[in-house]
Amino acid sequence: MIPVSIGIPETIRLDKEFYPASSLRRAISDFAEYLSARITDDRDYIALHIRFDPQYSSNSSTVVREFLNYALDLALKARFTAEDEASPDD
């Protein structure tokens, strides 16, 4: 589902509307212990270039899932926080 090769940079295409760059940067910073990654901004999507520390090779797929789930959670949290601030009556 989310293939990652250990030690080899993998690129995962992410939709900007679900994974904004700000959330990905924060997630990369928070997951720095487990993986190294950088993002490049294309016109239609964000490319996540990811490389694993070999010591986490046994569960790399899980770490990537954790990472993407965390980035999505950050994006949604930011979205709903902004909405709540815009409409305090709700």
Binding site: D15, E17, F18, R65, N69, L72, L76, D89
Partner: protein
């Protein structure tokens, strides 16, 4: 996963893929649903085309049943869609009720076209009368 055949079109290794049609469930409903589930499962969103979004759902805990989790996710989608519809339909009324609760005057009769209606001593609704009536 046969019970959700059509909407859940692929499963493998504890992962299900739910295809969400934007014409049925708004992005808002999808986002709110996802936000409720990020602590229970791994989610990955991927736009398939202009109309469809794939939601990859992977269980975090092996003990958690994927079928039940996907079923709950789909139900929550409907719930969030209905919530959005109701909010849109009753939003104006809710705003008026909240505004009235914090306002000093009668917002519905801001021009004062009904003299004495806001006057406490006038008791236009007869609240004092009914209270005395109950006590007697």
């Amino acid at each position: 996963m046969s019970t959700l055949k059509g909407m859940v079109h692929q499963t493998s290794n504890g992962t299900a893929v739910v295809v969400v049609q934007e014409s049925v469930y708004s992005l808002e409903a999808l986002f709110r649903t996802c936000y409720l589930f990020t602590d229970r499962c791994y989610l990955f969103l991927k736009r398939v085309d202009g109309e469809s979004i794939e939601v990859h759902i992977t269980v975090k805990n092996e003990a958690t049943g994927l079928d039940a989790l996907v079923g709950e996710f789909c139900n929550e989608l409907i719930d969030q869609r209905v919530r959005a519809d109701i909010s849109r339909e009753s939003g104006k009324i809710r705003e008026i009720i909240v505004a009235q609760a914090f306002a000093e005057g009668n917002l519905l009769d801001a021009l004062g076209t009904t003299p004495g209606r806001d006057d406490y001593n006038e008791d236009p609704l007869g609240i004092g009368d009914s209270s005395e009536h109950r006590n007697s």
